[in-house]
Amino acid sequence: MSLSVPQVRGQQKSLPAFLSRFLKDPKALIATTYLLLLILLSVLAPWIAPYSPTDQNFAEALAEPSTAHLFGTDDLGRDVLSRLIYGAGYSLYASFLAVSIATLIGAPLGLLAGFLGSWVDTVISRIIDTLLSFPGIVLAIGVTGALGIGLTHGMVAVGLVFSPIMARLARAQTLVVKNELYVDAARSFGASTWRLLYRHILPNAVQPLIVQITLLLAMALLAEASLSFLGLGVQPPDPSWGGMLARAYIYMDLVPAQMYAPGIAILLTALAFNALGESLRVYLDPTMKGL
């Protein structure tokens, strides 16, 4: 069983060709389909969800699943299915927000550190090491506590906590690409630093970053679920999968079934992001050993 897929140098530039090859992998296909459906679901929530996620109805609190409420109701009489659907939007928004921040901060810093070397690299590397020494959630909670609790603050905190991961990867890739001969060639006919970075280094360093982005999306999702569960993320009455789990836990002896749907949703979505990332890795960067 071969460990390393020989790297196909200079893959076709065309997206369609890549997609057709990539989607032949069943894992990738299922993951991508699931995620696209989920995005669609969250965008169409106002039209698809049977109820508003915040409509309370004490008369029907903690009801069993029925035709009226396919997943039953929670302790405030709100329809669980609707909350699940709307919650998807919050979770996806949260994940993309956190990972965008992490990439926008981390990638350029890593690129600069790798490209410029010397003291810039030393300083940035020390900062990366430092931030990575903090247990992620703990630092995120700390930052959230300082900024104020709430979804956006929480995910900004998570984004900050993830940025050293992107930075370290971007730096490692830059170090490799920087020594490629075509960079020297460009330098020899007078390319400026900016051009070298933008035209030569970035496009060739970006693939493992894409893989890492999908993996971070999974981690961000779990982070948001944790923060919302603890009451630090999405604030009630807004629906979130983590928050739903918190409520379900309180009423666990009454209606134990309530805690399964949101948990499964989180698990499946995180699995999908991970599967996507792993499949992308095979096609984009088979030599990466993983962080």
Binding site: M1, D129, S133, F134, V138, G145, L222, L245, L267
Partner: protein, 319 residues
């Protein structure tokens, strides 16, 4: 080729740790200062009078330049004084001393479970690479990594605590007074945490072992006629020990973070509970104290692990 003195490895790593620690303390201290608005006002709370705000400003030295404040805070911290909780006025250091051991118990417990189950799983998967068993282990570890650990905790409580009654759903035992009880009470939290740990370790062990087993070096040994068992135990495991140590260090960091959430499920009196309550109530000294002590523990643990790695395989430290 020069021989590397083993002591110089340790010295070099120690030297690298210092700037990281300094930066880490700066980050922790800086947490209070990224608060939007005047920190004194925030600390004083909603009902505060102008006097109270001024009092707090003096007390915490907010009127002084940032670096002076930092220095004061740091020197206090190094003497063990982490200020008082804004809510209860208890000494933060005392609070941490009470709660950290409980957290550490669960973390270490979870690590032991992860290693005890994860390593054999990884080895088994590597030996039977490509088989259905390997695929099954792979699938399980994918699930383990994607599973929210607090959700797993909830499920464990539902079955093992509420339905079967084998373990308590809440609380922790005293480590010093009744260790067996402490272990019993810490089991469910540790298992909840360990799922991710088992997944991670078995993956890393599998891939590291596969790499060693398919290396040129091992193929030569096989050609010489060494039995598979000998190759596995003598050479395979020795070569992955560095990877294993490194992964353990990373896992420690991850688990420390994970307890924060898991403790909430079990009303477990640990660092997690401490920091979450503090964050909600804007009790900054406690938040800072918890973050600081955790980062110190992580840095020290990784330092020890790095030195151990360097001792086992000097080549590793030459980066």
């Amino acid at each position: 080729m020069k021989r590397i003195a083993k002591s110089s490895i340790a010295v070099r790593r120690l030297a690298q740790v210092v700037p990281v620690m300094v930066l880490a303390t700066l980050v922790v201290f800086g947490l209070m200062h990224i608060v939007p608005g005047d920190p004194a006002v925030v600390l004083a709370g909603d009902q505060a009078t102008g006097e109270r705000i001024e009092e707090i400003r003096q007390l915490y030295g907010f009127d002084q330049p940032f670096l002076i404040q930092y220095w004061n805070w740091l020197s206090d911290a190094m003497r063990g004084d982490l200020s008082q909780s804004l809510l209860s006025s208890e000494s933060v250091s005392v609070l941490i001393a009470q709660n950290f051991p409980n957290t550490l118990l669960v973390v270490v417990y979870a690590m032991v479970i992860s290693l005890v189950i994860g390593v054999p799983l990884g080895i088994a998967a590597a030996i039977r690479a490509g088989s259905a068993a390997d695929a099954a282990v792979g699938a399980l570890s994918s699930v383990g990594v994607a599973m929210p650990n607090f959700w797993l905790g909830m499920i464990l409580v539902s079955f093992f605590a509420l339905s079967l009654g084998w373990f308590p759903a809440t609380g922790a035992g005293s480590i010093t007074e009744d260790f067996p009880e402490a272990i019993w009470r810490g089991t469910l939290p540790a298992v909840a945490l360990a799922a991710g740990g088992i997944a991670e370790i078995s993956r890393q062990v599998r891939s590291a072992l596969l790499e060693v087993l398919s290396s040129q070096f091992v193929r030569t040994l096989r050609a010489k006629g060494l039995s598979s068992r000998t190759i596995l135990w003598k050479h395979g495991l020795k070569n992955i020990s560095v990877t294993l140590l490194t992964v353990t260090g990373l896992l420690f960091n991850r688990l420390l973070g994970g307890t924060v959430v898991v403790e909430a499920i079990f009303a477990y009196p640990g660092m997690g509970n401490l920091i979450v309550r503090a964050a909600i109530n804007k009790d900054f000294p406690v938040v800072q104290g918890v973050v600081l002590s955790m980062v110190v523990v992580v840095v020290l643990t990784n330092l020890i692990i790095d030195i151990l790695c360097g001792l086992i395989d000097p080549r590793v430290s030459q980066k």
